[in-house]
Symmetry: C2
Subunit: 162 residues, 2 copies
């Protein structure tokens, strides 16, 4: 995508990601993580045992995604991925580009499928994006997510083979 570069994040580069992590989780309507998670917990969740990436527009880091095994052992052929894009840079195609990039990377890493465990059902933009990238809703957890404004709402599990 013109003007956007996606590169692997180094283990000590979480500081570049932290402002995005904070901006995205504080809305309490998209991510499962507690709104008040501290730097070190966030770093462990996002960087430990994952393949993390930086999404850059010029010199500026505007987004991040990670790929990791969805489960250890007998489920490790399926990956999970998480995506964060700074609110100032949404709605301009970067989200889709990150998704396409992640699918390619995951395949290269040898995974057979990608699974999202936490797609908030009220987040219609995300649901539509993943459906357009051939993900299917394979499960619905009733009232699985405590939405900051809407209370308990359903969670979708979305999946596609690579």
């Amino acid at each position: 995508m013109e003007g956007i570069t996606i590169i692997p994040a180094k283990a000590d580069e979480f500081a570049l990601i932290w402002p995005i992590f904070q901006a995205v989780t504080k809305t309490g309507d998209t991510f499962i993580y507690p709104d008040d998670m501290d730097y070190f917990d966030a770093e462990e969740i996002w960087m430990k045992g994952t393949n993390p990436y930086l999404v850059c527009q010029g010199e500026q880091v505007v987004g991040t995604y990670v790929i990791r095994p969805n489960k250890v052992g007998h489920g490790s052929h399926v990956c999970n991925a998480g995506f964060m894009l700074h609110p100032d840079h949404q709605n301009n195609g970067i989200g889709r580009y990150m998704g396409e990039h992640a699918l390619k990377q995951a395949k290269e890493l040898g995974y057979l499928a990608m699974q999202f465990n936490v797609v908030v059902s009220t987040n219609s933009r995300s649901v539509a994006l993943w459906k357009s990238l051939d993900f299917k809703i394979v499960g619905t957890i009733p009232k699985g997510f405590l939405h900051q404004e809407k209370g308990l709402v359903d969670l979708y599990i979305m999946h596609r083979f690579l």
Copy 2:
């Protein structure tokens, strides 16, 4: 249940659980954990951040289960539980008793629902047990589990409110 006692496990009692953990995971047809997981990794998975229990027949520990938040933050009102019963003590009602006990404990701990993320579709005994305890299959991960004998088989996600 006559002759069976279920008590909380203390933080330093994983040694009592380890023989069961080994016996149950080595079959490679029920649990997601790698068949060759070592003591310390197993201890961390089973004891850290969980409510672990010992299932005793007389003085002997024959089973164990844990309750833990299925997700942090916005999903922490839903618990996950894991159950292990030594192969020598299966098929005699202890599994059901463990399940009933866990549902009661989870409710007392304040959870709103219980979710299993890894019910191997070919494990018909477990699927039937959980259905009889009012769990529903809310999701199916196609080929989500690498079964030691059968290869890639589906995984069910099962759920019930408490």
